[in-house]
Symmetry: C2
Subunit: 225 residues, 2 copies
Amino acid sequence: MSAVARRPWEGQPEKSQGEAEKPKRGAPPKPPRERILEAASDLFYRHGIRAVGVDAIAEAAETNKMTLYRHFPSKDELVAECLREHAHEVDVYWDALASNYAGDPEGEIRAWLDAVSSCVTDAGERGCVMANASVELPEKDHPARAVIESFKRGTRDRLVTLFRAAGLLEPEVLADEVFLLIEGARINMQSLGSDGPARRLVRMIETLIESHRPATPAAAAARLP
Amino acid sequence: MSAVARRPWEGQPEKSQGEAEKPKRGAPPKPPRERILEAASDLFYRHGIRAVGVDAIAEAAETNKMTLYRHFPSKDELVAECLREHAHEVDVYWDALASNYAGDPEGEIRAWLDAVSSCVTDAGERGCVMANASVELPEKDHPARAVIESFKRGTRDRLVTLFRAAGLLEPEVLADEVFLLIEGARINMQSLGSDGPARRLVRMIETLIESHRPATPAAAAARLP
DNA sequence: GAAGGTAGTTACCGGTCAGTAACGAGTCAA
DNA sequence: TTGACTCGTTACTGACCGGTAACTACCTTC
């Protein structure tokens, strides 16, 4: 529908193959740093961060370990950079969403719900990149943790902004509730799949939003800035 | 308040020290198998499954690697056994809850909510053991995955039973919704802590339950078997 | 006291982990 | 042509991984 990224909540599963694609005829091959980031993000997402070694990443990126270490000081920093990249992509998605539906918060919510829905139905989905990383990297001083925390905080704030723009009641409370539901659905998908409780996610969010809708349009307008 | 386990949703964090306790004077020391399971569960929960080696487990259990491998055929099987043990403890908790509040489903729900609350407030909490394991062990044929899946399914069924006994409307739908909220709060705690959206968990569940309460006591009674 | 079972000890296996040294080929601009 | 820079290749380090062999010490039980 929109020109924005199709799967804003997750990693880069568009290619399920662990190898960097061949340079398209005429198109220059991607620089190594980019290939490494893509290969690492893909492997981390599919197999887990600790389960993937730097050798495997270098091989999947069709380069070698030395080049990897010329671009990233350590595996931990590579992980953090992958997450920063992901956070940036999601930021781009949110900005595109906002500009595509400027002045139409209801449409914006609907489009966003489409994306949310795909996160708990599409094949290859394995939950939220950031949440998964927070499970695998409990060390408080790991460089990835600051990225994870600010991403989650930012997502919550985006929801508040979205719901406030739509004139919904108690946008902070609503955002927290919706946020928890999405987090729950995405983690539960990894054990019970798309047919478990996660299948009710979108309907639940819709009901929740409905319950925060002001009684009359006039009341809604009165709440707008 | 009740005699049931205090933290039914998680691992064994009662001792945050990674070492087996000294045998109490007069009390016989625990057998090695038990010590290994306890040490492994504790280390897995705090640091992650893949981050902990068998040497570290044996040392924390105050035994050695050979004894570990005499009791468990592989690390993967040890992981699965730890999760089975955890599932059993949670089963015991649920059974105790049901028998402690026989004929008082409202009280049962209140007691259960207390336990849920502690899962998103207590220090040392790091989410659901099973959900965390599902993130770290994506391989479909890992022996732990069957345990995780049946545990999650069982938990959902327990909720359905609980809500149905309380005469609440649409117990399956309610259970799925509550389940997702808890899953979300417990995973989100690992990035945003107890002060994030997770702090609203209990109030959200209460509101949800309230919205599924039949209009009149007579109507509720009519729904009971 | 002999036998059997369990647990502890030491040493080891091959493989993999993250990370590095050194060198050579290619490209580019000055 | 030269120098600077990037990238690829090979070989390597030391630590750790999961898992095993062989032996010893101890405690039962007969």
